[in-house]
Amino acid sequence: MGAASDAARATGSIAVPPAPRAPASPLRVALVGNPNTGKSTLFNALTGMRQRVGNFAGVTVERVEGSYTGADGRRVSVLDLPGAYSLDPHTPDEAIALDLLAGRADVPVPDVVVIVADALHLERNLYLVSQLIELGLPAVVALNQIDAATKRGLQVDVVELIHELGVTVVPTVATKGEGIDRLRQAIARAPDLPVPSRRMPVPRVAEQALRPVEQALVDDGVPPAAAGLEALLHLTAPGTDHGPAVHAAVVAARSQLLDAGLNPESLEAELRYGWITGVMHRTVKDPDGQEHTTSDRVDRLLLHKVWGMLIFLALMGIVFQAVFFWAAPMQEAVESALGWAGTQVGSAMGEGDLQSLIVDGVIAGVGGVLVFLPQIAILFLFIGVLEDSGYMARAAFLMDRYMRTVGLHGRSFIPLVSGFACAVPAIMATRTIERPRDRLATIMVVPLMSCSARLPVYTLLIGAFVPAMHIGGFLDLHGLVLLGMYLLGTVSALVVAFFFRRTLLRGQTQPLILELPPYRIPSPRALATTVFHRSSLFVRRAGTVILALSIVIWALATYPRSDVPDGIPDEAVQEMQLANSFLGRAGHAIAPAVAPLGFDWKIGVSIVSSFAAREVFVSAMGTIYGVGGSEDGAGLPEKLRAERNPETGAPVYTLATAIGLMVFYVFALMCMSTVAISIREAGGGWTGVRWAAVQFGYMLALAYLGAWLVRIGAGAFGWA
């Protein structure tokens, strides 16, 4: 028997009568709660979906929908809403919840609200719970993480809590699926129960002052059941979205309350916290309340000014060492498999364009990218461990000091770290940032964080040109250079943010109030799901966009066929064909633009191709060297190392070229999806387009300048 059932049994059973017969329309359920209460885990447990979850606040920033079939056969559609601390929205993601529940969104008001409350932090959670039950919608409270609360020594009297709240309370442990069936039954039954109403007492004088506001709100279209709550919310913000009648009523109510010696700004908070204190006293026993937990003891070390930072850097170092070290055998296996496939296909098919398309276009292009799948999987495994263990929130706390120095809000840390995976969700994660200028500054610098699409570019160039050696006997130089590229992106993001905050986006930075989640041992299943999901996204991308682009690039690199004089060696024929192809001509046209960076036309044309997505650089190089290459059977790194300038005979690629190219990719915004999401999240319309243009422009300028400086610097030291 699970902890959820144990808790229910210990405190009295929850009578759940049989659900009514199935009506035709689906039951609409919304999951609402404080951030990091396990809403998305509960959503996944209810619907069987794989919505992203994490052990820190702000993982869900958009509403996500799923469904299941109830015991009565009725479809139940479930909406997972972003976490909110109250219905008085401060951030765009919090506003999503209120708009939906108040009927202001483009979807109908839900039939049932499932309020997810964290049993470990019930006192704080009850603030939102008390607001939600005042909305007058059928509600069920899922008292989640009841096992952690029990383990901590907290005893929650669930029956008394039901009595206090006036709604069904179901203890759950979403991570283990405990209490989920009972929750489903409670959801099915909720619409037939009396609608919950306000539980906290309101002084008579406040009631009288608020009554005209409530009436004005109802006249303005607010549902009567929600008018009481909205009236209280409007007291703290007299400038309302409603008509002048509501505004006038609010102003009058505020003055009436001030005359009665009550502070309208803090009235709601004082009333709620007063009521919550009583509820906590009657429902929760906390015998070890003041004792320091293991989490506190670990935090003393991990959040230490000096040790904390050193541990953070050491952890990052381990991650990037492992990305190279662990992935090497798997990468070799994938390379061998692709090499074998190329040889088999090449020998099975006769010479001709189709063979060239399959071997040089598809296998060299898509395969060249797929080789990096092990690195991607290992990187996401580590990110998953750091997130799920609760360390990521600590890292945000550690970094807050530096973020504030450059004018970034502490909440910017999570979007910045998410940028290591992909800038698109990372830019969406900025919705948790309250002030538009803080948010915009973060959006502008998120793409500087090295996303997983850059990993194939870095890994290809590091593997091909950085010597394989160990420093101090154990530090792999490949891993160190990779860490250097990630650090370059991160430090640049902070520096650029500093400039934005002192020029276009001036403003005060707000202090960070951050909830530190308890440490947890990451669930292997959840980690496997994350790694599988991310890896499959990578493979899908390789099999769709990159496959299509590889074929197009192959065609551009192959046609038109030119007449080649007889008696020329095969190698020279292929080079001439490539140079006269559409791609070759385009490459030679743009060659002067990239020549100052030490890049030849093949690199230039691969860079231009990768405007669609960064990985295309690798596939384009694979295709170009497949079509024009001479060393049959050699991998792309070998072909790059063997490439010679036809005029001088000098190697085209040196260590300086490789570093310059990597620096170019650290800075350049080569991703159509990121540009599109920046337009949307920076305000949409021309405002969004302008900001996205500034972002694209400054990043391209930095990329060009960075690569040029590497070349000049390398030349000065005689390394070029």
Binding site: L354, A548, L549, S550, V552, A612, T687, G688
Partner: protein, 48 residues
Amino acid sequence: MSPVAQTVIVVLLVAGAALYVARKVWLSVARARRERNAAGCGADGCCK
């Protein structure tokens, strides 16, 4: 496989890939335009 058959397959594959890429670009542009309209932008380029 005869050279003609090879050529036909190559043409079909290249045309399919080009159409796929063009469709992706078209969808991105359409999406940006939808976002622009959703943001309340008029045909004159002014957004509320």
